[in-house]
Symmetry: C2
Subunit: 478 residues, 2 copies
């Protein structure tokens, strides 16, 4: 037993979890409040959690996927098909049950093409960029246009059409790192909706500063979306360094002309799938504990932190719990497909498993840095489960957050049906340095941090899957 | 007057420099020894040095070149031609005299082409690499071959021809950062001579792990050389991350097959040139103080730390000294061309100025991080000049080193004729993270560190250009 376990036992022994007197029932969903002490957690949970700190399974999966498959691609890609076969073999070898591929189709699959840019005048030179998912295409010979510069999405929104029409809009808002990743929402709007806004104002194309917290040359891709009836314009992200260079050119006051060559295309419907593996539980009526990450990855890097590590973390934790004895609830590990293009795999999962009872849903899709916080959205009766999580996770340096859990593109369709969420939040302070760039490779994963993740997930699964309390349903999110 | 200047004055006022009693004469060249105190430095030097800490000229040059020209290219490139015109305009505007282009030819100019690589088996995926300067070409459709892995250049040297013949040699030695940059010499041999060794053993091609201290996806280019009579083979550097991936594939024990497409070519003789600017001195017989950096840059980045910043630092320092009054010695600032392909501009300079007396030669070509050390190779009579440098540079955090000065590809031909060197060594702890990669861009330059460089060079020039002692000639290096 490690010092961590000793520390935990000293604080919590020996009252069994289910005998702790429940606090007064809160009015609706049990969230943000201090953990009432003493709360006891079964010492077996601490022992299993600390065993997870020596785990090698998560690394083997992360290393294996990034080395033997590399980039998996998105939108029903051939790389995902290879990765699914790899996954089935690996998950069976680990001892999981009911390992299977659940197929679905990806309609209107988008495929990356050539992507180059150069300043034509006044300072001729090449710039590094990458197309955004769902970008329109330029002519094969390229599209040449004058830059219309906006320092923010807001500035683009305020601009009259005459300032944008026929031009290449350039939206360059900077992003700073946040531990909870919330700056992705604010800065990311330039990518999520900027192209649609520019298209509606008549822009010939749009380039944005990458939604990233680095200052490097690897551009950050990611999906954008155009409203129905709006014709997709060429839309790309300059690397942060290249956006800075283009800003300096603009600042000199002369018109800046850019030539873009972007040749993505829509290749029609493609077959794809989720990979599912289970740890069968003893009580089918108690509901499934759904966990997982996503198998697809943008083709620029090898998808190590996005999201091979998430697959490794959740799978390793499930295996540790499985090897410790059969849990009350079935733990279902899903390696979702096609997350990056809007959660196609997650939607397919929700359709295929509609009507089935889920106790909780949790996703690991935020890299492999240390988990610093957990959040839950439990029904009142399950509040003690959250309290036990707080005690079991604290020795890993994990605090209890005050937000509504259920984060993750893949689990969102299940969460929306009223399933409780349990989120284990990794630190986002470095995540957006490499997110969706060529730099998302294995060397970004720290083995010790990865093991801390596995330990957190192991403790969570051990508590949630065996909890005697009823967990959920909860009021559907929003 | 800044605190730095006060600190210096407290230690050194008020004896004029030239009245300090010289220490006992050492037998040959004055090097490595503690500074005898008290040594007095003219307070005007300290004032000028501290004024340099507010300099904006170095930044303006670095920012201007990287923004308005971008990558300059190598080997008589069109980018260098544009940059030379830019330089003449800028140097004249700064008030320098005798601003001119000194033309020369680059024979057998090498030009980069397409450069892609993919693993064919057993784990199909693309890898990121870049051709080394002077690399041979593959057929346009590519060259496919099995990897012969070597963990070091030494392993390749020891290998029998049968282990290499017809294969793609893969030499993967890691490089750790060193403050003095010395690991470039040891690790760099894989690039400098590895391709020649592999070619002589009959390899079809060679890929090396990038000579870099990062772990990113930007491959590090740089020149290699083949002996006369050895036919150049395709030679490229994988990014450090991609080399790691390929190593992991090799470690799985199955043969690994790679396809390379590298289409560089020799384009014949091209016209190029150095840009020269002067601060005329009062005493033509005292010899020229030669300083500078290089104008060419590898086409992957925008050549900010290699070497726009070196041009900015040396030029800004010369201007500060110029504006303070006419020095005894002529300061000549040279923006050398075609350094990256073996110092073609430096050789041309030495030919053009053969027989002219140089007092000292110094080059700034190691980025823009803080200067941490200085070294000299002065004749005995000039030892007090070194002592005064030690006193004037100490408040900037600069120590006196024990090595032989005269470092730099461009000044090497002049140094070899017996000219004294003065080296101001920047820290190399981060330099090889981005050296010769796409990441060599303006954002890598810290403005405060850049100013510390300018201050160091300003103090050095103020002391050396005005020194009443004779400086050099010295015994030629090696």
């Amino acid at each position: 037993m490690t010092p961590l376990a000793l520390l935990l036992l000293a604080a919590t022994a020996p009252v069994p979890a289910q005998q702790v007197a429940p606090p007064p029932a809160p009015p609706t969903v049990s969230r943000a409040r201090p953990t009432p002490l003493p709360v006891a957690v079964d010492p077996k949970v601490a022992a299993l959690r600390d065993k997870a700190l020596g785990d090698d399974v998560a690394w083997a999966i992360t290393e294996g996927l990034t080395t033997e498959i590399g980039a998996r691609g998105t939108a029903g890609s051939a790389g995902q098909a290879r990765a699914r076969e790899w996954a089935v073999t690996r998950l069976k070898a680990l001892g999981f049950r009911n390992v299977r591929i659940e197929p679905y189709d990806v309609p209107e699959a988008w495929e990356r093409g050539i992507e180059t840019a150069e300043v034509i005048a006044p300072f001729p030179q090449a710039l590094k960029l990458t197309a955004l998912g769902n970008s329109g295409a330029t002519p094969a010979a390229g599209l040449t246009g004058e830059i219309a510069y906006f320092d923010s999405l807001n500035a683009l929104l305020l601009a009259p059409e005459s300032a944008v029409r026929g031009k290449i809009a350039f939206v360059s808002n900077a992003m700073l790192p946040t531990q909870d990743g919330s700056s992705y929402g604010s800065a990311g709007s330039a990518r999520f909706v900027g192209p649609n806004v520019a298209a509606k104002k008549g822009a010939a194309a749009i380039v944005i500063r990458s939604i990233g917290t680095d200052h490097g040359r690897g551009p950050h891709t990611g999906s954008t979306n155009f409203e129905a009836g709006v014709r997709p314009i060429p839309a790309a992200a300059l690397s942060v360094a290249d956006a800075g260079n283009l800003e300096r050119m603009v600042a000199r006051g002369r018109p800046v002309t850019l030539r873009l060559v972007l040749t993505p295309r829509i290749v029609g419907t493609r077959a794809s799938g989720n990979v599912v593996a289970e740890v069968p539980g003893t009580d089918p009526r108690a509901g499934v504990v759904l966990i997982g990450g996503h198998l697809d990855s943008w083709e620029l890097g090898t998808g190590a932190i996005d999201d091979a590590s998430g697959l490794g973390i959740t799978t390793a934790a499930a295996k540790l719990v499985m090897d410790a004895g059969r849990p009350r609830r079935t733990i279902r590990v899903v390696w979702f497909g096609d997350e990056e293009i809007g959660g196609v795999g997650g939607q397919a999962y929700a359709r295929a498993h509609a009507g089935e009872r889920h106790a909780t849903a949790s996703e690991s899709d935020f890299g492999a840095d240390r988990v610093w916080r957990f959040e839950t959205s439990f029904a009142d009766a399950a509040r003690p489960v959250g309290d036990r999580l707080a005690v079991a996770l604290a020795p890993l340096g994990i605090v209890r957050g005050t937000g509504q859990a259920g984060d993750g593109t893949d689990i969102a369709p299940v969460i929306r049906t009223g399933v409780a969420g349990v989120d284990l939040n990794q630190s986002g302070l470095r995540y957006f340095d490499v997110h969706h760039t060529p730099e998302d490779t294995l060397d970004r994963v720290n083995k010790d941090d990865l093991r801390q993740n596995v330990a957190a997930w192991t403790a969570m699964l051990a508590i949630v899957a065996d909890a005697p309390e009823e967990i959920g349903p909860v009021p559907p999110l929003r």
